[in-house]
């Protein structure tokens, strides 16, 4: 058990070392949320047709854009893993006695911490736009946990895709195809109630919906988690455990 935790932490720490040495990606990832909030958000807040409960559209949108930023950066995590496969790093990890689940969890933990940095960026943008945020310690803790769990889910999903397609070219194609449907079939930029029934049904199966919901409940003043935080975290945990089990099983495929 202790060695499992140490193995997981070692993989995560190696990933973070690399990220902190080359943080350009963190900056480039900040551009999109700025565009969505400053351009899209400001324009759409003039449309009064979107029911957002007691909050402004811009405030409603902010947690959705944080969730989007988490999704868009985590979903391409598999590219790095395919790169590691081409380099032989994956082979070397897989000949160690470390359980495959520790290798997968370590990567997910690193993605989770990367998500926290994105949350900081979105908080700063929201602050600049004058959106009323909840600054209570408990709310912030919920945001951090939700963002970590969301990043872990989508990065592990990305790892699963990488294990199946194995090449960068195929991965890029699939990544592009997946991100937009996941984003639009969620409550990130409009509430579920506005969707036609079939889309609502899809959105209810989409983990991003629960990430957005948890963030909406914890992040903004007057925001509400319509599914309840218990359901949101419950669903996300179950999805993460299932994805981790699948990824741990598929990971050895990368070395073949």
């Amino acid at each position: 058990m202790i060695s499992f935790a140490r193995q997981t932490a070692a993989v995560a720490s190696a990933e973070l070392h690399k990220l902190l040495r080359d943080p350009t990606e963190l900056f480039s990832r900040a551009v999109q949320p700025i565009l969505w909030l400053v351009v899209f958000g400001q324009v759409f807040s003039r449309v009064r047709g979107i029911p957002t409960g007691g909050v402004s559209y811009l405030a409603f949108l902010t947690p959705g854009i944080l969730a989007q930023s988490v999704l868009f950066s985590a979903i391409f995590y598999g590219i790095a893993v395919i790169w590691e496969r081409d380099l032989g790093i994956v082979h070397k990890l897989l000949v160690t006695p470390a359980p495959r689940s520790a290798l997968v969890l370590g990567k997910a933990a690193a993605a989770g911490l990367r998500g926290v940095i994105q949350a900081v960026v979105v908080f700063l943008i929201a602050l600049a736009l004058g959106i009323a945020l909840r600054w209570q310690a408990l709310s912030i803790l919920v945001v951090i946990l939700a963002v970590m769990l969301g990043s872990a889910i989508f990065s592990t999903f990305s790892l699963i895709i990488a294990c199946i397609v194995k090449t960068r070219e195929r991965f890029m194609g699939i990544g592009q195809v997946l991100t937009m449907p996941l984003f639009f079939a969620s409550s990130a930029i409009y509430p579920l109630d506005l969707m036609p029934d079939w889309l609502q049904a899809v959105a209810r199966l989409n983990p991003l919906t629960y990430l957005v919901d948890a963030l909406r409940g914890a992040m903004i003043v007057g925001g509400e988690a319509v599914h309840g935080l218990g359901t949101d975290f419950g669903v996300m945990l179950v999805v993460f455990v299932v994805f981790t089990a699948i990824a741990a099983n598929l990971y050895p495929q990368l070395a073949r």
């Binding site: 070692a10 190696a14 070392h17 082979h91 070397k92 470390a98 070395a255 073949r256």
Partner: protein, 274 residues
């Protein structure tokens, strides 16, 4: 049988019985039966695509055999793969040290993944860096290393947990002669100091001559001949070289054969090292 205990061939480091791997209709390794005694450097020679890398992948538990059986350090590679992984070190043909990390960070990652205690890891990492002549470079990023330094770091990573058997896939491919010599020296000293068994693949006859106590020449997935280099040479005449042995038993020169993917991989590695 208790999967935690060694099974057959205590005196053998590696034993395979009719080990076979197919990819679709292509037979990469065909009923390979091999015995490698403890403490020797064993060379698996062959052209690109002869089945060397596939054999190493099966022995290191990365690739399940289609049929047949293999034991490494006394443990079955399929039924007791984790026990095997605890007892082996592996340096893949590709450059597997992480360029974005320092040498020491690469070693720390290996130590943790092998479940090493922090204090033990600390002293072994220092020893390994010194042994490989890298102590001045431990805190430099690996992407600033030369090809020979990266290979020596990878050897350090692979020996950190003191494995019983070390697998090296084309250990000096793409290295210049000086760097190649430095890797050979470290390998032989490592074998002398620790008594570990080393199985390496190569298509370089000079390397095989310099390092291997015994070797087997693979040709199209089967062993064409095996034995001590001196005996193999003597069997062909007083002036025969290993190149002659190879040509005689594989029916051609080393330059022939090879699948596109193997050639591409070898060239990629050579380019990164160069």
């Amino acid at each position: 049988m208790n999967p935690g205990s060694p099974s057959l061939g205590e005196a053998l480091a590696i034993e395979t019985v009719e080990l076979t791997r197919r990819f679709g209709s292509y037979v990469a390794v065909d009923r390979l039966s091999l015995q490698v005694g403890r403490g020797i450097v064993f060379g698996l020679l062959g052209a690109n695509g002869a089945g060397k890398s596939t054999t190493i992948k099966m022995l290191t538990t990365l690739l399940p055999p289609t049929s047949g059986k293999a034991t490494v350090a006394g443990f079955d590679v399929v039924a007791t793969s984790r026990a095997v992984r605890r007892r082996i070190g592996y340096v893949p043909q590709m450059l597997s040290a992480d360029g974005g990390l320092t040498g020491r960070e690469n070693l720390r990652l290996s130590a943790a993944l092998y479940g090493m205690d922090t204090a033990v890891a600390h002293s072994r990492i220092a020893d390994a860096l010194a042994f490989m002549g890298l102590d001045a470079f431990g805190d430099k990023l690996v992407k600033t290393y030369s090809g020979g330094m990266i290979r020596r770091l990878e050897l350090a990573q692979a020996m950190l947990h003191q494995p019983a058997v070390l697998f090296l896939d084309e250990p000096t491919i793409g290295l210049d002669p000086t760097a190649r010599r430095s890797v050979w020296d470290r390998l032989l000293e490592l074998r002398d100091r620790t008594g570990m068994t080393i199985l390496l693949t190569t298509h370089d006859m000079e390397e095989a001559d310099a390092l291997c106590g015994e070797l087997a020449i693979l040709h199209q997935g089967v062993i064409a001949v095996s034995g001590k280099p001196s005996e193999l040479k003597a069997a062909l005449g007083a002036k025969a070289t290993l190149d002659d042995v190879f040509a005689h038993h594989s029916g051609g020169t080393i330059q022939e054969g090879g699948r596109y993917i193997d050639v591409r991989q070898a060239r990629n590695t050579a380019r990164r090292l160069g």
